[in-house]
């Protein structure tokens, strides 16, 4: 989910750039140097996954997976998604360089929020079903929050853009459902195969 070049005015671009720069700085500071290749690999996974089309209803939707990125990466989701968006802008002109900050915030900020909610609630139930529901609901919520952030960014430019934003959010409703279900399944898979990829619950990290 991203906004194209030319649509936003300078106050939004400046605010988005500032918040994105702060997020990327925090993410880079928390990321160990040895984790750089791993984070790059995960950024590449999310880049590739965003090109995957899933049959949905009569058509197909593409995945966003920023909820999963947030849950797996935490604050490192900011630099990882910023890099993925930068490459999408340079290679395919999806999004753009001037709106890179806004797009990064729209994608990564709800993801980081999902990370903290996941950590807080993860310890309460360990069964696959609990993880499926938790990750699925969080992923759907992340996509919804991204849509709301995008709406806010567009609405800053004038009330007429609310209709545009409404159109974008409505068309993303199937994405929200597909993203939630796919993320839930992916989280269950990770729980069974590599549980250390999922963030430790708060209780565990205190121990």
């Amino acid at each position: 989910m991203h906004v194209c070049e030319g649509v936003l005015g300078w106050p939004v671009l400046a605010a988005g750039g500032a918040v994105a720069a702060a997020g990327v700085a925090i993410g880079l500071r928390r990321m160990q140097v040895e984790d750089t290749p791993k984070t790059a690999m995960l950024a590449a996974v999310f880049f590739v996954a965003s090109l995957v089309h899933v049959p949905f209803g009569p058509g197909s939707v593409h995945l966003i997976l920023n909820g999963l990125a947030g849950i797996v990466l935490g604050w490192a989701a900011f630099p990882a998604l910023a890099v993925a968006l930068f490459l999408q802008a340079v290679l395919f002109q999806f999004g753009g360089l001037a709106v890179l900050g806004v797009n990064t915030v729209v994608m990564a900020l709800p993801g980081v929020a999902a990370y903290y909610v996941f950590r807080a609630l993860y310890g309460t139930g360990r069964g696959p079903m609990c993880v499926f529901v938790l990750a699925g609901v969080l992923a759907a919520g992340t996509v919804l929050c991204s849509g709301l952030l995008l709406t806010g960014a567009l609405a800053w430019g004038g009330r007429a853009f609310l209709r545009v934003a409404g159109g974008i959010v409505t068309t993303h409703m199937p994405v929200l459902v597909a993203d939630g279900l796919v993320t839930g399944a992916a989280a269950v898979f990770l729980l069974k195969v590599r549980p250390d990829v999922l963030p430790p619950s708060r209780r565990e990290s205190r121990r």
């Binding site: 030319g6 750089t36 002109q93 753009g96 990770l190």
Partner: protein, 249 residues
């Protein structure tokens, strides 16, 4: 998908230093984004076309890039002209198109295409392996430069991995349909990609450590900024500054 770009070539734009091109591209993109009048948006589009012609961009690849952007612009044209309040421009049955709305949609379309042209000509012509280096040259942290360089490389690797995974699924008679089974299977495939990516990332860092990786982004060549780069930066700043000031007097 390959990260090799479609916009290679040997024009003087391609010979400019990658750091300078990235800097000029971002500066111009921001300058265009600040413009609010149709006349100036036209000037920017003209500049974009001129730079694009100078870089001899491949027309087919360029149109493919602009298609996605302009699909969104079409959507804006469907909404904005009758949603913005203002003077009536023309009435189509129950809908009244306003002058302000049409002007806004026109402005956004021109600006969006101008930025896309300028960025394609200046930034997308940089060889992907130089991007991380260019970011480092512009003063961004080493970790970020590494992240860009490695993500470019790993995107190809992960894409191949995904292709292999899809083929093994196909060999087991997986046929994507609109069903819970499909969504769950794709979820497992994404999880598998994450696990393989994680493990590969661990092997990569071990191999890098064997080659004295300490987190600093090193390059063997450090070309100096020549007179052509200086002219390019000066022209960019002058151009952005002039249009910015002219629009506000």
């Amino acid at each position: 998908m390959s990260c090799a770009n479609d916009f290679g070539g040997g024009t003087f734009v391609h010979q400019l230093d990658a750091r300078v091109r990235l800097f000029c591209g971002v500066l111009l993109a921001l300058a265009v984004a600040l413009s609010a009048r149709v006349l100036f948006a036209c000037c920017w589009l003209g500049l974009g076309l001129a730079v694009g012609a100078a870089a001899r961009l491949n027309a087919r690849a360029l149109l493919r890039r602009l298609r996605h952007l302009n699909a969104f612009m079409l959507f804006l044209w469907a909404v904005l002209p009758w949603s913005v309040e203002g003077k009536t421009w023309c009435a189509l049955g129950p809908l009244t198109l306003t002058e302000e709305g049409v002007r806004l949609a026109m402005n956004i379309t021109l600006k969006g295409n101008a930025i896309a042209l300028l960025c394609t000509a200046l930034v997308s012509t940089i060889a992907p392996q130089r991007l991380g280096w260019a970011l480092k040259g512009l003063g961004l942290p080493d970790k970020l430069a590494y992240l860009v360089a490695l993500t470019i490389r790993h995107t190809d690797v992960v894409h191949e991995e995904y292709g292999r995974l899809r083929r093994t699924m196909k060999a087991r008679a997986f046929h994507p349909r609109f069903s819970m089974h499909t969504l769950r299977t794709i979820g497992y495939a994404v999880g598998e990609l994450l696990v393989r990516g994680m493990e590969r990332g661990e092997r990569v860092v071990a191999a890098m450590k064997c080659r004295a990786f300490d987190g600093r982004f090193r390059t063997l060549d450090a070309p100096l900024i020549g007179w052509r780069e200086a002219v390019c930066v000066a022209a960019t700043v002058l151009c952005a500054g002039t249009l910015f000031v002219l629009e506000r007097v």
